[in-house]
Amino acid sequence: MDYATLLQVLDTTLRLATPLLLACLAGLYSERAGIFDIGLEGKMLAAAMSAGAVAALTGSAWAGLLAGIGASMLFALLHGIAAITFRGNQLISGVALNFLASGLTVLIAQALFQQGGRTPPLSGPARFNAITLPGAEALRDVPVVGPLYYEVISGHSILVYMAFLIVPLTWWILFRTRFGLRLRAVGENPAAVDTAGISVVGLRFAAVGITGILCGIAGAYMATALQAGFGREMTAGRGYIALAALIFAKWRPVAAMWACLLFGFFQALALRPDVVQAVVQVRVPVPLLDALPYMLTVLVLAGFVGKAIPPRAGGQPYVKER
């Protein structure tokens, strides 16, 4: 594999890792607060549809982004009400929301546009177009670093850069702020948090809300940056891969970024079987490449690569006076 090909693969990796990363961080907030969320997929889908629809109607990608975040937060709120207020089973609530999103998105898009559950193709300012970072053209001819900056780092939509900036932000919030400390505590030992006079319900709703925002950005990115519009089931299981990445990263933000980049890299490799064949000298079946993220996650869960310990209160509704 020559350097230019490597850069192409890395470029694809960044694009494909972004929705995973946003969804993974979304899951991280929720699960760190003790609320399991397998509804990431559904939230992304709802956001993708709303973003695509509103961007098509208003002609503004930013309006689409806001609509996407709104729709995703609505789903997050539903999950919160089911799982926190009514202490329902978090997994079942998540699955239900996934089904709801799957059907509802197509229904609404069909009612709005009569294009078979798709939103109309977007163009111009209705999409988040690629931006060239400052100095990318000038540095292009600098050996090694220049092409890396020009090909891989520069030339993505603004949401990609936002996603990667949210990683240090998340680390800072979780490990350097009072809110973060409480958030982590509520996922480990909500009774202690409650004893300290802090609202468990409030903290958990805040975490679920942040999950909604991040899934909203992820969905909007798919519909208005990666693609030019929403299509049925367009998230294609990325919410589940993000969950796998979250486990792989052991619920830590920076590790989550590396996990998503790794999974994105596998997805990028699966697009280039010729490159894989040239490197390993054996013809590797594409489905095997597709399955790698899941296989790695199973390895982690089986305890081969360190130990993945979820937040202790994860999945348990909090009841006072238990």
Partner: protein
Amino acid sequence: MTMMKHLLGAAGALALTAGAAAAEPALIYDLGGKFDKSFNEAAFNGAERWAKETGGTYKEIEMQNEAQREQALRRLAEAGSNPIVTTGFGMSDPIATVSKDFPDTKFVTIDGWVDPAEHPNVLTIGFAEHEGSYLVGMMAALASKTGTVSFVGGMDIPLIRNFACGFAQGAVAVNPDIKFISNMTGTTPAAWNDPVKGSELAKAQKSQGSDVIFAAAGGTGLGVLQAAADEGILSIGVDSNQNHLHPGSVLTSMLKRVDVAVYNSMMQGAELDTTTQALNLASDGVGYAMDENNAELVTAEMQATVDAAAEQIKSGALVVHDYRTDDTCPAATF
């Protein structure tokens, strides 16, 4: 009790005659969805044409998952729909199961295969995708400036490989040194609906030098066409005429006249002739699309070259290899 039996029998006979009188046809769309701007939408267009011309009505169901197939068939058959037209290879096995229980109902499987000897009430309609793909493959090779053309398939099944194989043969016929790249989106039905992956595959193929991409991938193909338009290269649509999706970027579309197949089946109604049909170039079952959206992309010479080959195929002077006959392709490996 006897009275009851008589009554029931009369009611049953009434229901049967009512069913026969109002035997309206039914159409079942495959997982790609009714408005996929491609395969299933072509079926819908054929049914609409039938409804318009005859003033009849038809029932329709869109498949959401594999498990619904048999259930949908049974429900329509019990409701007296006749014939029941289905799209997609996935309906073959469910039809083979259900058709025995409803010997008086005619079933149509488009793109599938059900043995006519064992199931006399099932019509199998197949298409010579390799012939249509051959023509657009020639056109791709004629339009390519880089000497590299590529193919994005949906789910990796012999039918889709047949598209790829015909396309590669056509490209090689024009330019023996042409480089051909082929990618499949996946191995599950989800591969028909992943436009993001379609886009990324198109971009990956462009980075390998391809400047004409043929997509035979249902909803995923829309992502391929979008990426080709974004990247400023050419694409080729499939099944329906997709030239209008990105005018000036879609070189042509390989047409598969699913609409004609559906229309003809519904026209015959309950008297449907179940002799297996293979719709090819000679019977206008496949072809390529020319309209105002791609008029500037296709030169007169290109069209003349392709049309000459089409005549040869029709007359039998030129035989395009069908991948499905022996699972090999002379022009490409998978």
